[in-house]
Structures are given as structure tokens and as C-alpha cells.
């Protein structure tokens, strides 16, 4: 099997393009479409706010190749082919595996060593396994990747003392506001990143913290998860969103809405009602919840996930040593993983070969026994055994030798010859008989 990876991420594509992939919803329909289109191949889709990546394992000479995958992405997600081609990156075999390992370790993240991505990869793998699109190769690769990531994080401390998106959001809030004792925070959505960010914001001790979500129970659950006491705030109905926006000073939004929920049209009257008090909006959603035009409105400071992660990335220059250690872990683990994949392929090959030869042997055995009858004559037995052996060897060698004779020119003939010589331990090549004695003897005239 061959492992392929194709994807876009924060390094290769802007938020606008990444949104097209993130907005396409959950992975299972795409995985099913992939299986229908490329039966016999395995696939895992990793979709986070920073990346949309396909990890594929296919038969050695089967489909899909990189162009097939690009076409699949373009058609499935409605993104023009030229955009997919220019923004996507493609890796194969050990490079593809190394990429996944680096992603799991947080080495490819904008926030070096961030732990959230490991959970996201784990969920993506679980989804693919549930859909049946992850086969033996990808099972092995993903399980190895997650085990390596855990080990590398523990041993290198790459995620220790990290600067997170949440802490940067809190720092930026401090840059806008001096005192939080009279400030109101509004959390929109109930995602995991929103929860982490709100925990950091809560450390600022705001006066009020309201949570709202389309599903009220989710907002209540989030309030419980972040231990929000009733005297500080709680969950509010989604219908009160405009009122809450008037009241809020800091907004943390992270919903799964495919369309922006905070638009200039909605905010114009709200800003007036707020009497142009400063408003700090942290948009952690992908696709974005806040329209980019909001950023140009008076006294409104809008930061999306890319902005926050860029700030984080700038503050991580001093963590190069841990990153190098982690890279070493990844390199060793990739070698081990690829070796396992290769051996697994070989093991399957050997099993198939043994089964095939066993079938041939069984057929010949039955034929020979049938021919010998009930009371074999010793002479007939000798002859039958010779014939049996001869037929067995011919049948075994028939397929490889006929393939060798029908050589189509794809792989050099010498390669097969050398492989046969090595596999059957045939020794060094024997030069054809050229009557050396006669050739080497000098002529009478010499």
C-alpha cells in the first residue's frame, strides 16, 4: 500500500479558502463519497480551524493519485481546481506519515506544541474508523502517530508553559480595557476552544459573563463546565443576542454557523445603542462568525483565529530546542512506522503466496492420488511422483516465468532477473559458454 497526503493549512491558504472546506460540514458524507469513488482505498479527513487534510492509503498501483485527490476536493467542496492546486500540499509515503506525526506533535501548528490538535486528529481518526474508511494501513499510521505525539510531548516538554490562543486573547483584552470589574463578557457558542478561551478571560475577573447558544442546553452545560457561578452570569436565550451585544464589552464567539452571525448591518444600530463604547470581539470560529468588515467599525476591535495565532507564533521564538528534540522523535518514529507498514505489506504478500502455492500443491496432490488409485504399483508410484514433482514445479514457475517473458518494458528486465536470482539464491551470473580454451589460445600465426 502507498500512503498519500493532500491538504491545505494555515501556511498555504488564507482563512477565506479554508472556510470553504470547513463550511462543508461533517466528515462522514465526504468519507462515504471517497469510498464510493475510490473503492479499495483508505481515507481519514482531518479538519480543524487551521487545516483540512486527507490522509489516504491506496494499493501500490491503484487509485487515487495526487491529481485524483485534487479533483475530488475541487468537485466535492466546490472550490475551483486552480485554487486547490495552488493552495494544497501533497506528500507521499514517509513524508506523508512524517507530516501527520508533526501535526499530532503540534510542530506544524501556528501555536507550537498546542495540544488541541491531537484531540482533533483523534476524533477525525475515530470518525473514519466508524465510517469504515480507515483500513489496516491508516489504523497503523494514526495509532502510531498518536502514541508518538504523547511520548514526544512528555519527553520534550514542547507543550509546557505554552502561550495559548486563550491567553493571547486575554492579553489583548487587557490592551483595550484597564479594569474588568465593570466589564461584561459574552460567550457565543459552546465549542471546546471557546471554553478554553473563556477560562482565560474569567481570570480577568469580569463583572458579568453571559453565555448564549442556539441550543440553550449547550450554553448551560458550558456554564457548568467553566464553573460559572450564578452571581457572575450564566446562560441566556439565543433570542436575546442583540441585547447581550449591547451590554457586552468582550465577545468570544465560536459557533458552527456556516454564515457570519455578527455582520455590519446587525452591528450598526447596536454600536449606537452602546454609545460607541469599545468592544473587543474574539472570533474563534471556522468559518468565521464575525464579518471582516466589523474590524473597521468605530471602537470595535476584531480578532479572528489567525490574528491570535500570529501573535502567539511571534512569541515562541525561544522554544526552538524543544522543537528540535521533538523533530528527532518524529524522524525516528516515522522510520519505525514505515518499516512496520512495509513489513505488514510483506507479511500479507507472503501469506498470499503461501496460500496460492498451497492450493497448487493440494490440486496436484489430489490429482496424483486419483491417478495412483487404491493399490499403487511401486513402479507406477515412482513415475507418478516424478510427474507430480514436475507438474508442481511447472505450475509454480509458470506464472512468474510467463510474466517475465511477457515483459512490457515498465520495469527493467534486469530488475526481475536480479530479484529472482536473489530470492532463490541462484548465485552469481554465469557467463554463456564461449569456448574459452579455443578463444584464448593464440593462433599458430600469433
Amino acid at each position: 500500500m502507498r500512503v498519500l497526503f493532500i491538504g491545505i493549512n494555515h501556511r498555504t491558504a488564507a482563512v477565506r479558502l479554508r472556510e470553504c472546506f470547513a463550511a462543508a460540514g461533517d466528515a462522514p458524507p465526504h468519507l462515504n463519497a471517497f469510498r464510493e469513488r475510490f473503492p479499495g482505498s483508505e481515507c481519514v479527513i482531518v479538519s480543524t480551524c487551521n487545516r483540512f487534510e486527507l490522509y489516504v492509503a491506496r494499493p501500490l498501483h491503484g487509485q487515487p493519485n495526487a491529481d485524483d485527490l485534487r479533483t475530488f476536493l475541487s468537485e466535492r467542496f466546490g472550490v475551483p481546481m486552480d485554487q486547490v492546486a495552488s493552495a494544497s500540499i501533497h506528500r507521499e509515503q514517509d513524508q506523508a506519515v512524517a507530516h501527520l506525526f508533526r501535526v499530532c506533535c503540534g510542530l506544524d501548528s501556528m501555536v507550537l506544541g498546542e495540544p488541541q490538535v491531537l484531540g482533533q486528529v483523534k476524533r477525525a481518526y475515530q470518525t473514519a474508523a466508524d465510517c469504515g474508511s480507515a483500513g489496516p494501513v491508516l489504523h497503523r499510521v494514526f495509532q502510531h502517530a498518536m502514541a508518538t505525539a504523547k511520548q514526544a510531548r512528555t519527553e520534550t516538554g514542547i507543550d509546557a508553559g505554552r502561550v495559548s490562543v486563550g491567553s493571547v486573547a486575554a492579553d489583548l483584552a487587557r490592551q483595550v480595557f484597564a479594569d474588568f470589574a465593570d466589564k461584561t463578557v459574552l460567550g457565543i457558542g459552546a465549542g471546546e476552544i471557546a471554553k478554553l478561551t473563556l477560562r482565560h478571560i474569567m481570570e480577568l475577573a469580569p463583572h458579568r459573563l453571559w453565555l448564549t447558544n442556539r441550543t440553550h442546553q449547550n450554553a448551560s452545560a458550558l456554564a457548568e463546565a467553566i464553573h460559572l457561578s450564578a452571581d457572575v452570569g450564566g446562560a441566556r436565550p439565543w433570542e436575546q443576542l442583540d441585547e447581550l451585544l449591547v451590554e457586552a464589552d468582550i465577545v468570544v464567539t465560536c459557533t458552527a454557523s456556516p454564515e457570519p452571525i455578527l455582520t455590519p448591518a446587525r452591528f450598526k444600530p447596536i454600536l449606537k445603542r452602546r454609545r460607541y463604547r469599545p468592544l473587543f470581539v474574539i472570533d474563534l470560529a471556522m468559518p468565521r462568525d464575525a464579518s471582516p468588515q466589523l474590524g473597521s467599525m468605530t471602537n470595535l476591535y476584531l480578532y479572528n483565529i489567525d490574528d491570535l495565532q500570529a501573535v502567539v507564533a511571534n512569541s515562541l521564538g525561544q522554544r526552538g530546542d524543544q522543537a528540535q528534540d521533538c523533530e528527532r522523535h518524529v524522524a525516528a518514529a516515522v522510520t519505525a512506522c514505515m518499516s512496520q507498514i512495509t513489513h505488514a505489506d510483506l507479511g500479507q504478500l507472503i501469506r498470499q503466496l503461501r496460500a496460492k502455492l498451497h492450493d497448487i500443491g493440494q490440486d496436484e496432490r489430489e490429482r496424483t492420488l486419483k491417478k495412483l488409485g487404491q493399490s499403487p504399483d511401486p513402479e507406477a508410484l515412482d513415475s507418478a511422483l516424478d510427474e507430480h514433482t514436475h507438474r508442481l514445479i511447472n505450475k509454480i514457475l509458470h506464472m512468474p516465468l510467463s510474466q517475465l517473458n511477457q515483459h512490457d518494458g515498465g520495469t527493467p528486465l534486469g530488475f526481475y532477473a536480479a530479484a529472482l536470482r536473489r530470492l532463490f539464491d541462484l548465485g552469481e551470473e554465469i557467463k554463456p559458454d564461449t569456448e574459452p580454451a579455443e578463444a584464448s589460445e593464440p593462433g599458430p600465426d600469433a
Binding site: D171, L172, F177, A178, P278, G295, N299, Y301, V311, N314
Partner: protein
């Protein structure tokens, strides 16, 4: 006087050089973290500057002819403003909420000190206010200069507000933002400093009017439409708006910051008009020695025109 003048100029020169070095360091600190050693040196330089300014003020007050004279010339006013500003910068060093504001205040301090050197060495002209009661004169001049110092502080906070806000909006070089004061703290500083400046300038204006009403001089016709009166009135109105910006929400944030800068520019323009324009000939009915430019219905006019009779002092 002859002894006080060169000593004051020398002290001012030393202060200016110190201020230039500290200013360069403070501006550098806006983008790069400061090492502990450099921070310690900077702190000591500021302490030294404040001590020298205090010394300069005492020299002025004790060695000047006629005994204790709080503000005897424009140079003394500048020295007083510098002293207040240096004290404010020292205060801001230890206030986490206003961290970084010194980078915007120090250039102004350097400018004021440079201006004071000019006023000391080349254009020294003591205020000639023989008809004023010392209390009225002290209140009037101190109010005007301190008011201007607070307005200057508001403008510096305004400048920093614009700088921080631009970085936040453009999302550029956000790594160093932790070393700068928050927008809310800066807006509060703008409003408080503008309010104090407005009150003190108004005090200067009122005392000036009282002084004029007590004197026997009369204002010439059309005095209210002279450049200095118009400029001073505009400045006064700007600060009146600025101190109420919380209630006039349309002026919040960036607009308030620009207003604080415009207000200071108007005040400086008023200073420039008053100190640059040649005194008009006295009206026929005015007593000998009075000039037409010495009218002063508003704060700066009162400060330097209507009351002050300047005498060239070599």
C-alpha cells in the same frame, strides 16, 4: 539676575542632554524589551533630571532679584511645566496602567527644555506685572502654566492612544503591546488631564479678567476677534468638549485622542501668536506703558498679553 541666568541655562542644557538620552531609550523600548540594567540607568537618569530641575527652580526663585518670585518669566513657566512633566513621568514609571506613556511624554519634555534654553539664553524677558497683586499674579500664571502642562499630558496620552489603537487595528507588532498602557487607561488619562487642564486654564482666565477689571487699562475695540483670542477660545472649547467626552459618545476613543492633540496645538499656537507678534501701539486713552496686545479676555490672552508687559532683559 546676572548670576541666575547662566546657571539656569547651564542646568537646562544638562537637563536637555539627559532628556534626549532618556527619550531615545524610551522610544526604543516601545518595540524592544528593555534589559534590567538599562531600566535601572533610565530610572536614575529620570531621578537626576527631577533633582536638577528642582535645583533650577530653587536657583530661579532664590537668586532672582526681588526675592521669591514663583513665575517671573516665560522661561520660569517652561521650567515649571518641565518640572511637573518630569514628576508625572516619574510617577508613570511605577504605574503599570500607564506603562509606556513616558515614551510619548519625554519628547515633549525635551522640547520644553529646549524651548526654555532659548528663552533663557536668547529671548529672556521677565514678566513686568507691577500693578498686579502678588497673589493674583501667582494664581494667574501658575494656573495658566499648570493648565497647559495638564493639557500637554492629555495630548501625550492622546498620541499614545492613537499609536496603540493603530497597532491594535492593523494587528501589527502586537508582541510588544504588553509594554503599553491600555486604551481605556489612556482615554481616562486624556479625560482627567483635560479636565484638570480646563479647570486650571479657566482659573487663569478668571483671575486674568479680575486683574484686568482691577487695572485701569481698557481693551481696544475688536479685541475679541484677534488671532490669540480666537485661538484661545477654540482651545478652551476643545477642552470643554474633551472633559465631557463620556457624555458625548460620538467623540469617544480616537476622536477624543485627536481633540486632545488639537487642543494642545491650539494652545501652542496661542503661545506662539502672543510671544511672536510685536506689541501693538497703546490706545490713545491707555496709560503710558500699556500696549494694545495686552488685552486678554481668554486664558492665554490674559496670560501673556493683557497683563504682561515684557521688558527686554539682555
Amino acid at each position: 539676575m546676572t548670576l541666575a541666568n547662566p546657571i539656569t541655562t547651564l542646568i537646562l542644557s544638562i537637563l536637555t542632554v539627559l532628556s534626549v538620552f532618556v527619550t531615545i531609550g524610551a522610544l526604543r523600548r516601545l518595540r524592544h524589551p528593555e534589559r534590567a540594567f538599562v531600566a535601572s540607568v533610565r530610572q536614575r537618569l529620570i531621578v537626576a533630571a527631577i533633582a536638577l530641575t528642582t535645583l533650577g527652580l530653587f536657583i530661579r526663585f532664590w537668586l532672582v532679584e526681588g526675592g521669591w518670585q514663583p513665575v517671573t518669566s516665560h522661561r520660569d513657566g517652561l521650567l515649571l511645566m518641565s518640572f511637573m512633566l518630569a514628576g508625572t513621568i516619574f510617577f508613570m514609571q511605577n504605574r503599570t496602567r500607564l506603562v509606556g506613556l513616558s515614551a510619548f511624554a519625554l519628547p515633549v519634555l525635551t522640547f520644553l527644555l529646549g524651548w526654555a534654553i532659548c528663552s533663557s539664553a536668547w529671548t529672556y524677558r521677565p514678566f513686568d506685572l507691577p500693578t498686579l497683586h502678588p497673589v493674583w499674579r501667582g494664581v494667574h500664571l501658575t494656573g495658566v502654566y499648570l493648565g497647559t502642562a495638564f493639557c500637554g499630558l492629555a495630548a501625550m496620552a492622546g498620541g499614545m492612544y492613537l499609536y496603540v489603537q493603530t497597532r491594535l487595528k492593523r494587528k501589527q507588532n502586537l508582541g510588544g503591546l504588553g509594554r503599553l498602557a491600555s486604551l481605556e487607561a489612556l482615554e481616562n488619562t486624556i479625560i482627567r488631564a483635560a479636565t484638570l487642564g480646563f479647570v486650571l486654564l479657566t482659573l487663569g482666565l478668571v483671575t486674568g479678567v479680575v486683574v484686568i477689571s482691577e487695572s485701569e487699562r481698557q481693551l481696544p475695540p475688536g479685541w475679541w476677534f484677534t488671532p490669540k483670542i480666537v485661538l484661545a477660545t477654540l482651545a478652551w472649547l476643545v477642552y470643554a468638549v474633551l472633559m465631557n467626552v463620556r457624555y458625548a459618545s460620538g467623540f469617544r476613543g480616537r476622536r477624543a485622542a485627536w481633540l486632545s492633540i488639537i487642543g494642545l496645538a491650539l494652545l501652542l499656537a496661542t503661545y506662539a501668536v502672543v510671544t511672536r507678534l510685536p506689541p501693538a501701539p497703546p490706545p490713545p486713552h491707555a496709560p503710558p506703558g500699556a500696549s494694545a496686545s495686552d488685552d486678554g479676555a481668554t486664558l492665554k490672552a490674559v496670560t501673556t498679553a493683557s497683563i504682561d508687559h515684557r521688558v527686554e532683559d539682555g
